[in-house]
Structures are given as C-alpha cells and as structure tokens.
Symmetry: C2
Subunit: 198 residues, 2 copies
DNA sequence: GTATGTATACTAACCAGTGAATATACACAA
DNA sequence: TTGTGTATATTCACTGGTTAGTATACATAC
C-alpha cells in the first residue's frame, strides 16, 4: 500500500518515540520500531537513512512540544516571577508521578550516547536545552535581573538535576525541593536588584 | 593458570569499569570485558553470575572512592561552609575538563537502565547518592542550619544537574555556575539561622 | 512509464549464557 | 618424600537468538 508517506514517516517517529523513551535507545531494535509502526524494516529505512537518524528524529519531535509545555505552566501560574518558575517544578513533579514517566528523553539519550560526542541526537538535545535556557534568560532580563544568564543556568541546573535525581530515586518530591531552591535563588536575585536600584 | 581468584575478580571489575564508563552498559559486551581483563568469557561467568551482576559490581567499586574524593575536596578547602561546598563543584569542573570525562557513572547507568527500575545497579547508585546526601545533611546539621536535609537535597540537585548539563553541552563552566548557586543557597540558610538566633 | 513507496528475503556480525573438559594448588595419607 | 583426592579456577567450543543494514522485486499513482 504505497502513497501515505508523510503520515507513514510520522507513524514511524511516534513508534520510535514510545519505544526509545520507554526502553532506551540501544535496547530497542529497528525491527521493533518498524513492527510497532505497522510496517517492515525496509520501509523504515526508506524514510530514515540509519538508526542514528531515527534517534535524532525522535528527539527533534519532542523539542517544541516540551518547550511549549514549560511556557504554558509558567504562563498559567498566578503570582510573581519566583512563583511562576516554581510552578514549572510543581507541574513536573505531577508528571513524574505517572507510572510511565522515565525522566528527560534528551538527558537520557545524551547519557546513553556519551561515547559518541558529536551524535546528531545529542546536538538536538543540546539545542533544546539551550532554547529553554534562553527563554528563561530573556524572561529574567525583562524583569531587570542583574545577571539573567547566570540565573537562567542555575534554574536549568536545578531542573535537569531533578530529572536525574527523581529518575534514580523514583521520588518526585525532589522536584518540589528543586522548585523551592529555584524560588530562593530568584528571590535573592530580585532582592539584590532592589538594593541596587533602591 | 588457576588460583589467582581475588586479583582475577578485581581485574574483571577494573576492565568492566573502564568499558562501561567509557562506552555505556549496553554498548559493551561481556566478551569485550573478558578480553580487556585478559581472560575468557567463561572465566568471567565463573566470578559473576550475569552481566547485570557485573554492572552492579562496577558501580559498587566506585561508591567509596567517589565519596572519599568529595570529602577530601571539602576538607582541604580553606574557608567557611559555603566556600568549602563550592570547592567540590570547582574540583569537579577541573575533572570534567579531562578529555575522557563522561559524567557520573551512577546517573548514566540509571538513565540507561531506566526501563528496569529494580535493577541491582540502580539500587547501588541510589544508595550512593543517599550517602552523599546524608553526609551533607550531617555537615549542615553540625553547623546549626535549620532544615539541613532540605539544603542537602538542594545541593545534591545542583551537583547532579551539573553532571547532566555538562555531559550534554561539554561545557564544564556550568559546574562553577552550580557551585555559585550552592553557595548562595547555603549563605541564605546561614543568614536565616542568624536572624532566628538574633 | 516513471517517481515513489512498500514488502520479501537475506547477510554478516554480534551477543548473553552454557556444557564439558581440564589444569592447578593444597590437604592428607602412606 | 611421594602419591592421591578434591575444591577451585580456567579454557574451548558451542547454542539459540538478535542486530543494523541491503539487494531485489513489486505495486501504485499520476
């Protein structure tokens, strides 16, 4: 049955996403992805030139939706800057309580492929995290915070730290602890700013 | 050549450590470990009942040395509590600049084996991080900090976050940024304590 | 009648784990 | 001092299964 093509490619990426995220990159074979997508491996290799290419597509598909979710959680929270950022951590803790949650796909992929530094999937993961960092930086800059890049990176470190720690201990309360730390750091930065301007 | 045994087991763990840390768990075959240790796979299976068992031994061997290194960096630093904790991050940044550095073996293993929650290696990793957390907690408690467990967890989150982020971006300066955040959090906790005690 | 897309069938390598045999060191007996 | 049994340690050769990737042919749409 030829001619679907675009939907076919999409179906493959969907299947790859579910499997790679749930089981890990090297654990999942191309055959398994093809089977889950309901087609043969040969067809998969028509749409993707290699497994590495497929792994990159898996992460690329998560980039925008993930960022949009963080922005939504931030925007919907009622309160000042510290509270809005903390809301991201609280929502993340809620996601992490779902039984199928298995951490951050970008970080887990970079951990698994740590022996292949230039791998396209790692590049996509790095770009994704940079986008998040830059969104935070811009947000902090708008609020007049003194060193917005540094603060953005510190929040990012807490966020990615909570992904790693919660995955290890399977205890989402660490995310709320990270959120409190984020709030403290932002409040401190805002206080410094007040002192300088006041 | 029979009868070495203890040194043999040790040699296997050494070989496994180098390979698993550098290339990843599932990337490395038992044959490769045996070859690097200079013996046959059958001998390896005499000392370890399975590959999973070997992976657990790899992490178990890293537990105490890793903790000792952190304690050493803390003890050798000149200054108050915030500076001593920050010194851990600075030393870590120095290690991360070595070309063979590939993040935290415990976290990378838990990321790679995220689909096997009860895996013995993950348990060992979790116990390792708990030991570090508890050492920090006790240290903070000795200094009279109000909620020492919370602060210990926040520092841990920054530490593990820096492992993840530096591995992704290959930019060790994030570790120094994390160290600054740690210092800020500790200083804030000490200031609160000061206010309460008057 | 040619581009595009899909399937069958295959390769060559790899991989975790095992069955059976063997070699050595050491304890103890003669 | 020499012979012998036994637990420990090691090797060779193998199995059954999996893997990423491909050569070739076939089907459909326009």
């Amino acid at each position: 049955m030829p001619r679907p093509s675009e939907p076919t490619r999409e179906r493959i990426v969907q299947a790859a996403s579910a499997l790679f995220y749930n089981e890990g990159i090297r654990r999942v074979s191309v055959d398994e992805v093809a089977a889950r997508a309901g087609l043969t491996k040969r067809t998969l290799y028509y749409h993707f030139k290699s497994k590495d290419d497929l792994v990159a597509a898996y992460l690329a598909a998560r980039d925008q939706p993930n960022l949009a979710l963080f922005r939504k959680w931030f925007a919907e929270a009622e309160g000042g800057l510290p509270v809005k950022v903390e809301a991201i951590f609280k929502n993340l803790a809620r996601s992490a309580r779902h039984p199928k949650w298995k951490g951050c796909g970008f970080l887990r992929t970079s951990a698994e492929l740590a022996n292949m530094p230039g791998h396209p999937a790692i590049r996509i993961g790095a770009a994704h995290k940079k986008k998040f960092e830059d969104w935070l930086r811009a947000t902090f800059a708008d609020e007049g915070i003194a060193d917005p890049l540094k603060l953005a990176r510190q929040i990012l470190l807490l966020l990615d730290g909570s992904f790693a720690v919660v995955l290890l201990h399977r205890d989402p309360s660490y995310m709320e602890t990270a959120g409190e730390a984020a709030r403290t750091l932002i409040e401190t930065a805002l206080a410094k700013q007040g002192r300088k301007r006041g």
